[in-house]
Symmetry: C2
Subunit: 188 residues, 2 copies
């Protein structure tokens, strides 16, 4: 492994552990082991635990933002080739498959967001992650500007996070693409 990539590798492992073992599972030792690095490595790069979690939050936010940008680009292309109807279906499709594929990311986000509501060290983490996750919603929001009064961005964000929540932690049936599309259409 490139030495220069260690910092990133450590943060990837933190996010992975957050998803699989929860906040309590994130210890310097566990992170070192997961990354296959010598004990003390994560302590070296992030001497305090809060620093480790803070950096992991930024890392996660960056990932979310990148995914959001991709969605946005895909949406623009779908509009160009298939019109708005198809574009809405595209977003719904992506959202559902993404909610499954990005389950670890969602779980990590939940862990960090919950932690930030009570740990002063992590102030701002919740806002940062929420903002990252809302980026595509804000874009999507432009589409329904004429109904802004009734369905502001908060409503859409709530719905979408609820879907993510269901897919990430729920053991019950998941929403299908058609169902999500139906919701979007009824709002648009």
């Amino acid at each position: 492994m490139k030495k220069s990539g260690r910092r990133e590798a450590i943060l990837d492992c933190v996010i992975d552990i957050l998803a699989t073992r929860g906040l309590a599972g994130v210890t310097h030792r566990a992170v070192d082991d997961a990354a296959g690095l010598p004990r003390g490595s994560s302590t070296y790069y992030f001497p305090k635990k809060a620093a480790l979690l803070l950096a992991a939050s930024d890392h996660l936010a960056a990932m979310l933002e990148k995914d959001c940008d991709d969605l946005q680009i895909g949406f623009a292309e779908a509009v160009a080739t298939g019109g708005m109807d198809e574009a809405v279906a595209y977003v719904a499709r992506e959202l559902v498959s993404y909610a499954d594929a990005s389950r670890p990311l969602f779980l990590a986000r939940m862990e960090l967001t919950l932690a930030s509501t009570r740990q002063d060290d992590l102030a701002g983490v919740g806002e940062r992650l929420t903002a990252a996750a809302r980026r595509p919603i804000a874009f999507f929001f432009g589409l329904i500007a004429d109904r802004r009064q009734e369905f502001p961005i908060e409503t859409c964000a709530g719905l979408i996070d609820g879907i993510g929540l269901m897919h990430a932690v729920g053991q019950g049936p998941r929403l299908t693409t058609d169902q999500v599309t139906a919701v979007f259409r009824s709002i648009l």
Copy 2:
């Protein structure tokens, strides 16, 4: 304090700590202190930590179910006195104010649900809590039976949990009663 109430008092404290300090904050010692009981009390009633959390989950689920039943009764009354339109507004109103008032309950639910996705000791906790929280939605769902195909219970549950999530952990603007009502009306 009545000695016979100690078990319940302990579980109340567990839920409180889950909300204020998170899962990691729930230690036998911290629970004893919060309950004002001698060290070892929570250990006596719940010798293993998993037993403590499991019992707390049941306790929380019972609370949620009770609140849900109250909402259901209120809804029925609202239908009787003001018709369906007013009843929908009633539910939206209750939901928003409840989401604020029950913030600790929601946070505790999140903590336990997240924990149950990875800790075998807590298997079933997620389902139990999800089921409890969905009870009123299932009832509400009866109202839109004719559009069941498009808006199944999962969709409504996702939306409502998303709203709860926003109110519980979000630092941004909250949804207003009018906004929630608008969503309900557009679906109904």
